[in-house]
Structure formats: structure tokens, C-alpha cells
């Protein structure tokens, strides 16, 4: 039975109790309304050189109470970590401490300009130095570039350092291949291609990880680097990473490690110990800076001794009693204006200070333990593409167990929404058929994990009982039912436009 809202029970005006509809800003705002009171400009003679705006902009405004209501209502249409389990694999939806928000807003951090005299921002530079120190100790690496703005930007940074190092050896024309496992994040081949490298896919073994023998065959003088995610996107540790690194090094290439999953390793093992030359750290994953509905991220890159000379500008150096940013003539150049995501540095350092070294180790341990707990509790019901083996911080399932039920991974995920959960990551990594990638993180109490398992099992039983029709209707209780993505892409409407009449 579908519990579709009966026609007579439909809301009269769009809202129902706490479930409130909200029009677009452009449907309720008025260009003559403002929620900000400003002083009148002082009398002056314009010096705009005849470039004054003549046409209206068409920007609607709202008074302050209307603005609050508009955005509060919008916020209530979102799921969030604070509200419930958000087990998106590969995304690391862990608790975001509010102390970090408070610290980032201290005027000594939030209200300083990136180009103030360096003598007036020694505290900020010291914060960057401390952050760098923590990250280098956790990874056992030699140097760090703090400026990359996000993970993919960090990938660009690492690959640029590699490219510069190769060019310095006079091998720029010959080393043009980057080996990328098929399970890699899409950003890896995209980053390689952006820099003019050819991304060559590397197949994993039947156990979901790379095997030295398979990779060794692909290594040669044409290989600039291998990009490896460790643990990989299947949640499995690449055991041969160290041997692969040695072979790549012996052949004159470099080892880029995608550090998106460093939250499984912090305090437990160090990338510098398995031969990494460059690795980005997603501060918004491992170090809890908030995801904010899709950013901003932050992606500092740690570098090995071999790549340290090629680190981009700016670089932080000790200059007598002071710290100094070297802003020019550094490594391969500049990746972004200014010095990086300072607001995220404050939050990440606050997170690390709160944890301490042992606390970070505990966080990684709990993340791995929780993922394995879910894996074990579901392994008799759901199928795993690479067998039932100990995983790292996330557990990967496929849709083999649903075959013949008429229920797809997508249907299953949408049914989870109706049960009050954000679904796991679905259809990624591509190497698993109908992937469901579950990452609980260390932030869940055991009772929440147990409740989630119970829900998955009940839903699973319904799927196996072939109630596919009900699954295909899901979600029924979300602010929207399934949305037509085909229509969105076929006839894109990317902005509001005034409709006549």
C-alpha cells in the first residue's frame, strides 16, 4: 500500500505543519525593498568616467525578517549531520565541532587582510606553521603547500610539483603518463588530463586492490607518476603501495597519493612510510571543517624530500624571531590568490588541538571499527564485490543481493530517505556494480549504528520480499519525490526568469 497523500488531505496552501514550502526569492522579493539600513552617501562628484550603470539590475531584496524566514525555511529542506546519520562513503560526514566555528570567527583571524604587513599578522602565520607541523608529523613528510583550495586543487598542486620536477630533469617530453586505478575518484584522471598527462587506467585484482605484479608491468620511463588512493575508494588498504612506490621511484617516477581517505590512517600509519611523494589532505574530511552543502574545502599538499624544492608559492619560512611568507619565485609558481583557506586552517587546527595525537589515532580507529561493525552486521544480507574482508573506514556493497527483486541500488537508497536517513554513496566507485558505499565515521554512538543496521535489514527484507513497486515510489515523505533529472539536463533551466503575465 502506498501512503500517498489523499487528495482531500492535500495542503490548501502548500504547507503542512512543520513542512513549509518556500517560493523563490524572485517571487517574493521586490527591487525597492532592502533589509539593510545605510547612511546617505556624502555629497560628491562622481568620478566613474562615464561608466555608471544605467540599466536596472533586477535584484529583489527582502527585509530582515523576510530574509530570515526565507533562508530558515530553505534550510529545513536539507538533511544534515547534526540531524542524523549521514553515511556517505568517500565523503566523511563526521561531527563538526562548533568551537571551530567560534575560533574561526575571532576577529584576529576573520578580520585580517591577506596583504597586511607581515609584522601585523604574526599570529596568523604562527597558526599556519602549527597546522603545517601537525600535518607533517601525521604524514611523516618533508614539506607542505598550504594554499590549495580543495582536494582536486591539491591534486593539481601535487601533479604540478611532479611535472616541474620531471621538467627539471629534462624528462618533460618523455614522461607523460600517469597511472590511475579504475576505482579512483574522477578528479584523479581529470587532474592528470588538465596538465597534459595521459591518464592510463590500472585494473585492480579480484580482491579490489592493486597487485604489485600487475602494476610493475605498466611502469617504465614514460611514467610520470602513479596516483593511488589509500585506503582506496572501495575502503580497502592498498597493501602493495610501498612496493609499488619503490618500483615507480626506481623507474624515475613519482607516487601521488590521493589523501581523501586519510581519516582512516591518521595516527595509525604514515604515508611517508610507504613511499608517498605528494598527497593532499582534505581538511573538510579528516579534520572536520564543515562541508557547507558542497564547500568550501581546503586541500593542503604534503611533499616528500624529492618534491619539496618544487612546492608552490607562497612558502612560510622562519626569519629570525619572525615568520615570513615568501610570495614569489617559489617552486612551480602560484595556484591561487593569497595564501589558502585560512578560515579552514583555524578550524582544522582547533580540531587537532582538541584531539591531540592520541585522540586523532582514536578517531581513525573508531572510524575503522565502526565501518567493520556495519560490514559484519550486514554481510549475511548484502553482497560485497570483493568478498567479506576487513575494510578500513568504509564498507562497500554492491547490488548483487538485490538481483531478481526489481529493486535497484537507487531504489534502495531512496527508501532509506523515507526511513529518516541520508543514503550512503551510491554508484561509486564504478568498479562495483550498483555500489553502496557506507562510511559511518567515528562520530556515531553504537546505538545509532545498531539502529541503522536494523533499518537496512528491515528494508532489505522488504526488497527480498519483492516489494519493488513500493521501492520505486520512494521517497514519499521527503520535501520532494524523485526529481526528473533527464528533463533538467535536456532543457536546462539554470536561472529564474521573469515570466510575462
Amino acid at each position: 500500500m502506498l501512503d500517498h497523500v489523499h487528495e482531500a488531505q492535500r495542503p490548501l496552501a502548500g504547507g503542512r505543519a512543520l513542512d513549509l514550502e518556500e517560493p523563490l526569492l524572485f517571487e517574493i522579493g521586490r527591487t525597492e525593498v532592502s533589509g539593510v539600513d545605510l547612511d546617505e552617501p556624502a555629497p560628491h562628484a562622481s568620478q566613474l568616467g562615464g561608466l555608471e550603470r544605467k540599466m536596472p539590475i533586477g535584484l529583489p531584496g527582502l527585509s530582515e525578517p523576510e530574509t530570515m524566514r526565507h533562508f530558515v525555511r530553505l534550510s529545513r529542506l536539507n538533511y544534515s549531520i547534526d540531524a542524523g546519520l549521514y553515511p556517505l562513503g568517500s565523503c566523511t560526514m563526521k561531527h563538526n565541532p562548533r568551537l571551530n566555528e567560534k575560533m574561526a570567527r575571532l576577529s584576529g583571524f576573520a578580520d585580517i587582510h591577506p596583504l597586511q604587513p607581515q609584522s601585523t599578522v604574526q599570529g596568523a602565520l604562527e597558526l599556519m606553521r602549527q597546522l603545517a607541523d601537525w600535518l607533517l608529523k601525521l604524514t611523516n613528510m618533508e614539506a607542505i603547500a598550504l594554499s590549495p583550495k580543495a582536494g582536486a586543487h591539491g591534486e593539481s598542486c601535487g601533479l604540478m610539483a611532479i611535472k616541474a620536477a620531471i621538467a627539471a630533469k629534462g624528462e618533460g617530453e618523455t614522461r607523460r603518463t600517469v597511472l590511475v586505478p579504475q576505482s579512483a575518484h574522477g578528479t584523479n584522471p581529470a587532474s592528470a588530463a588538465l596538465l597534459g598527462f595521459t591518464a592510463q587506467p590500472v585494473p585492480a585484482g579480484p580482491d579490489g586492490i592493486l597487485h604489485f605484479e600487475d602494476v610493475e608491468k605498466l611502469i617504465g620511463p614514460h611514467v610520470a607518476a602513479i596516483m593511488l588512493t589509500n585506503p582506496n575508494t572501495c575502503g580497502l588498504f592498498e597493501r602493495d603501495a610501498g612496493r609499488i612506490a619503490e618500483a615507480v621511484h626506481a623507474a624515475g617516477g613519482y607516487f601521488y597519493c590521493d589523501g581523501a581517505n586519510f581519516n582512516a590512517l591518521a595516527g595509525l600509519t604514515r604515508p611517508g612510510d610507504f613511499g608517498v611523494d605528494a598527497m593532499h589532505l582534505n581538511l573538510h574530511k579528516t579534520f572536520s571543517t564543515p562541508h557547507g552543502g558542497g564547500g568550501p574545502g581546503a586541500g593542503p599538499v604534503v611533499l616528500s624530500r624529492r618534491l619539496a624544492p618544487f612546492a608552490p608559492a607562497p612558502a612560510l619560512v622562519q626569519d629570525g624571531a619572525n615568520l615570513r611568507l615568501v610570495e614569489d619565485g617559489q617552486g612551480f609558481g602560484r595556484m591561487t590568490a593569497f595564501h589558502g583557506q585560512m578560515g579552514m586552517f583555524v578550524r582544522a587546527l582547533a580540531y587537532m588541538l582538541a584531539h591531540g595525537g592520541d585522540g586523532l589515532r582514536q578517531a581513525s580507529s573508531d572510524a575503522v571499527l565502526s565501518a567493520n561493525y556495519l560490514r559484519a552486521a550486514l554481510s549475511d544480507l548484502m553482497t560485497q564485490p570483493f568478498g567479506d574482508r576487513a575494510c578500513m573506514h568504509e564498507a562497500l556493497f554492491d547490488e548483487e543481493w538485490l538481483s531478481g527483486t526489481g529493486v535497484s541500488t537507487l531504489d534502495f537508497a531512496k527508501a532509506l530517505i523515507d526511513e529518516g536517513y541520508h543514503p550512503m554513496t551510491i554508484y561509486f566507485p564504478l568498479v562495483a556494480h550498483g555500489a553502496m558505499l557506507i562510511e559511518p565515521t567515528e562520530s556515531q554512538p553504537k546505538a545509532a549504528l545498531d539502529a541503522f543496521v536494523a533499518t537496512l535489514r528491515r528494508l532489505g527484507a522488504r526488497a527480498l520480499a519483492k516489494e519493488a513497486a513500493a521501492f520505486r515510489e520512494a521517497p514519499l515523505h521527503a520535501p520532494r519525490r524523485r526529481l526528473d533529472e533527464t528533463q533538467a539536463a535536456r532543457k536546462p533551466v539554470l536561472r529564474w526568469t521573469h515570466k510575462a503575465g
Partner: protein
């Protein structure tokens, strides 16, 4: 540890449930190597009070703009941010949600992005905009790459008025990708002849207005020349508030408009996080980088929003993607949107007017000083002074007196022979006392 819900008893029970005697055993099974157990050389955890104390000490060792007359710009501007902006972006549902991959439970983020895209398109005078980039400088480099894709040419001409960091970022990307860049020499007074340099080999011309030195530029002539030669005009701005008062790039014929959105809704934050704005013509939609949000309907026919045109993006197209960008600058874009909603058209116009008025008044007072020459004819809220003396040294001396006087051009263009130039920006936050402090300070030092 206060952030960890699992107790020792929980951990033991969970290990038992999965059949391991200890976490070390589990980790060894998963990785083939036992975990590190020794000292990491890192301090022990701190209580909330201790963390606060530690960071407060660092924060206090910075001279914040709220404690000094402040005149810095050069790509980052200090404006007032209404309290409701910061409150709203800290709502759990905005702060602690992910990229809206499950649209049924992410309509808040998606509708906001749709509104943001519309606001950016309106502000820039363009047809469409994306859901934001990392910042203005990376948006600028992405615009160059997009122009390469659209024109199938690989050479860009960069104006000497472009922010030097933006030029360097584009230069890095170009050098790494094997593309060519022609960077015009620093153009302090907006008198360069770009039109004469445009030919059929260019993919794009990148020009900033208000430019790095504060000059407003009319782009129509360059747009016309670009059209004749099949190149695209990429217009850049770093001060979004200016768009409330000056002719938007879209009206001057720009094909792609990129800029820094920080100055609406976002604090200085020592350089980041900021929000890159990216707008273009509808016909170039499928070559745009970054996330796009589009309108559609749900199964019941109700309007809703989804991320769309993902076939451009790295998670689908991998090495054939338009960009490797994966995130946008979501929360900063939200702050931008909320502030712009509060301002509305009348508020933004008035805010821009106040900024310009303050700049005109400051310019008049500075022009009276001996040893100070003002180089701009047309400007918005920032202009360039030629000082008798080294600008960086003068700025340092003023900082010691508690005045943050501006950005010496040599900070961004070292060795360019522009050591006597100082960029001064002023906003609605500067008071009469601030202006007097700057004027008096400069007078005494020069």
C-alpha cells in the same frame, strides 16, 4: 574524548561482534601491517577552554581591521556583514550538509544555488552563472581554459591591469598545460593598447575592471575587437560591490565574466575561503566548469531543483571533464546570496554609492598632500597613489602607528619599478576619523 561517542565497552562489544580480539588485530588484518602505537610527537588533547585559550593567543597576535583605520583592498575588501548572514550560514542544515547529491532531501541547498546563479547572472549582466568556484583567481584561470575549449586556440592575452596573482595563477595553469600566455606589462593608468594586440591566434583577452590599480575600464572596444578576431572577452572583477554602481561587463560585451564574490557577505579571513563567481552566455553552457543547479519537477509535478549537466564533470567524464573541480564554495556562496538578498537592488546601489562617495572624499583630501599624487581618473572605491618614498616602508611605518594604510604595489609586483605606488581602498566601514588618521599619518611620514 568529547567528540567520540563510543565507550571502551562499546568498542569491546563491537570488536567481539566482528570477531577480533583487539583493534590492532583488526587493523593488521585490514592492512597487513600493525598500527603505529608509539608517540607521534604530538601533544595530548586539550579541553575546550584550553583550545580556546591557545587560539585566542594566536589571534591576539594579529592587528585586526577592527582595531585600526583600515584601507586595504587589492582583491579582498572589508565590508559590513549583517549579523543575520552569519547566523543563517551556521544553521546545521546548511553548515553540516554535503553536496546535494540526493536532491529530495537537499532542496534547501539546491534552491539556494538556483537563486545564487540567478543573482550572479543579474549582477554581471550575463545570461547564466554556475554554482561558484574556489575564488576569483581560480575562476579566472578556468575561464581561460574554457575559452581555449570554445575557440580551439591556446593563447590568451592578459591585461596589465589584471590582479598580479590572477595573472600568475593563469600563468601557472598555462605553463603546466603547455598553453601560451601574453601578459601585458603593468598598466597603472589604464592606458595600454590591448586592441592592437588582438589577432586571430587568441582564444581570449582577459581584462579586469575596476582593475588592479583601481581604474574603471570601458570594455566595449575590446569586446568588438575580440568579436572580429573570433576571440572571447573574459572580464574580471575583484570588488563585487562595484557592480551596484558601474556598467556590468555583460553590457559591455563580455563573453565570460569571472570575479571574486568575497566582498559581499564574506569576511577577509586572511585570504580564504572566498567565493569565485563565474557567468557566461547560455550558448556556452556545456563548456562551463563547475557545478550547475537546474530546475525540474518531481513525480508529483512539483517544482524542484537538481544538480545538472553532470556529463561535463569529473565524476562522470573523468579525463574528458571540462575541469577537475569537484567542490564549489557552497557556504561562501550562501553568505553572498543572503547578504545580496538583504541588500536588494536599492541597498546594493546605495552601498556602492556610499563606497564611491567615500573614495572621492578621501581622494580629495589625499590630493592636497605634498608628496602624494593620485593616478586614477575613473575609479570605484580604490585608487593608486604615487608617494614620495618607498610605499612598503611607509606602510610599515604607519602600521607601527596602528594605521593599516593600504597595499604597496611592490608586494604583488616586486621588481617592477613600482615601489612608490600604494593602493588605497575605502568602504562604507571607514569613518571620518579613519580618513584623518590616514591623511595625517601620510603627511607626517612623507
Amino acid at each position: 574524548m568529547r567528540y567520540h561517542p563510543l565507550t571502551s565497552a562499546d568498542r569491546e562489544a563491537m570488536l567481539a561482534a566482528i570477531g577480533f580480539a583487539s583493534f590492532e588485530d583488526l587493523f593488521t588484518e585490514a592492512t597487513g601491517t600493525p598500527p603505529l602505537t608509539g608517540d607521534l610527537g604530538l601533544p595530548p588533547g586539550k579541553s575546550e577552554v584550553e583550545v580556546e585559550r591557545h587560539l585566542l593567543r594566536l589571534a591576539e597576535n594579529n592587528l585586526s581591521a577592527s582595531r585600526a583605520p583600515f584601507f586595504l583592498g587589492a582583491g579582498a575588501y572589508r565590508h559590513h556583514i549583517p549579523a543575520s548572514v552569519d547566523h543563517l550560514i551556521q544553521r546545521s542544515e546548511f553548515l553540516t550538509s554535503y553536496t546535494p547529491y540526493q536532491p529530495e532531501i537537499s532542496q534547501g541547498t539546491l534552491q539556494h544555488l538556483f537563486e545564487f546563479q540567478t543573482q550572479v547572472a543579474l549582477l554581471t549582466g550575463m545570461e547564466i552563472a554556475n554554482a561558484s568556484m574556489y575564488d576569483g583567481s581560480t575562476a579566472c584561470a578556468e575561464a581561460m581554459l574554457m575559452a581555449h575549449r570554445l575557440t580551439k586556440r591556446r593563447k590568451a592575452l592578459l591585461s596589465g591591469g589584471l590582479h598580479p596573482h590572477y595573472a600568475k595563477v593563469a600563468g601557472t595553469v598555462a605553463r603546466m598545460a603547455g598553453d601560451e600566455i601574453m601578459l601585458a606589462p603593468p598598466d597603472v593608468t589604464a592606458s595600454e593598447d590591448l586592441i592592437g594586440k588582438i589577432d586571430d591566434s587568441l582564444s581570449c583577452v582577459i581584462v579586469q575592471t575596476p582593475d588592479f590599480f583601481g581604474n574603471l575600464r570601458d570594455l566595449s572596444g575590446i569586446a568588438e575587437a575580440c568579436r572580429r578576431h573570433g576571440a572571447l572577452l573574459v572580464a574580471v572583477f575583484t570588488e563585487a560591490v562595484s557592480l551596484g554602481l558601474v556598467t556590468p561587463p555583460g553590457e559591455m560585451g563580455a563573453d565570460i565574466v569571472v570575479g571574486e564574490g568575497q566582498s559581499i557577505g564574506n569576511a577577509l579571513n586572511f585570504g580564504g575561503p572566498y567565493v569565485g563567481l563565474f557567468a557566461t552566455r547560455e550558448k556556452y553552457m556545456r563548456q562551463m566548469p563547475g557545478r550547475l543547479c537546474g530546475e525540474t519537477q518531481d513525480l508529483d509535478g512539483r517544482r524542484g531543483f537538481v544538480l545538472t549537466l553532470a556529463t561535463r564533470e569529473q565524476h562522470i567524464r573523468r579525463d574528458k571533464a571540462t575541469s577537475n573541480i569537484c567542490t564549489n564554495s557552497g557556504l561562501c556562496a550562501l553568505a553572498f546570496s543572503i547578504h545580496l538578498t538583504l541588500l536588494g537592488e536599492v541597498g546594493l546601489r546605495k552601498l556602492a554609492r556610499v563606497n564611491h562617495a567615500n573614495a572621492v572624499l578621501l581622494k580629495e583630501r589625499l590630493a592636497e598632500l605634498d608628496g602624494v599624487e593620485i593616478l586614477n581618473k575613473a575609479f570605484f572605491n580604490e585608487f593608486t597613489l604615487r608617494l614620495k618614498g618607498d610605499a612598503a616602508r611607509i606602510v610599515e611605518a604607519l602600521a607601527r602607528r596602528g594605521v593599516l594604510a593600504g597595499v604597496p604595489v611592490s608586494r604583488l609586483l616586486p621588481g617592477a619599478g613600482l615601489d612608490d605606488l600604494l593602493l588605497v581602498a575605502i568602504t562604507e566601514l571607514n569613518t571620518d576619523d579613519d580618513r584623518t588618521a590616514l591623511v595625517t599619518g601620510l603627511k607626517e611620514i612623507i
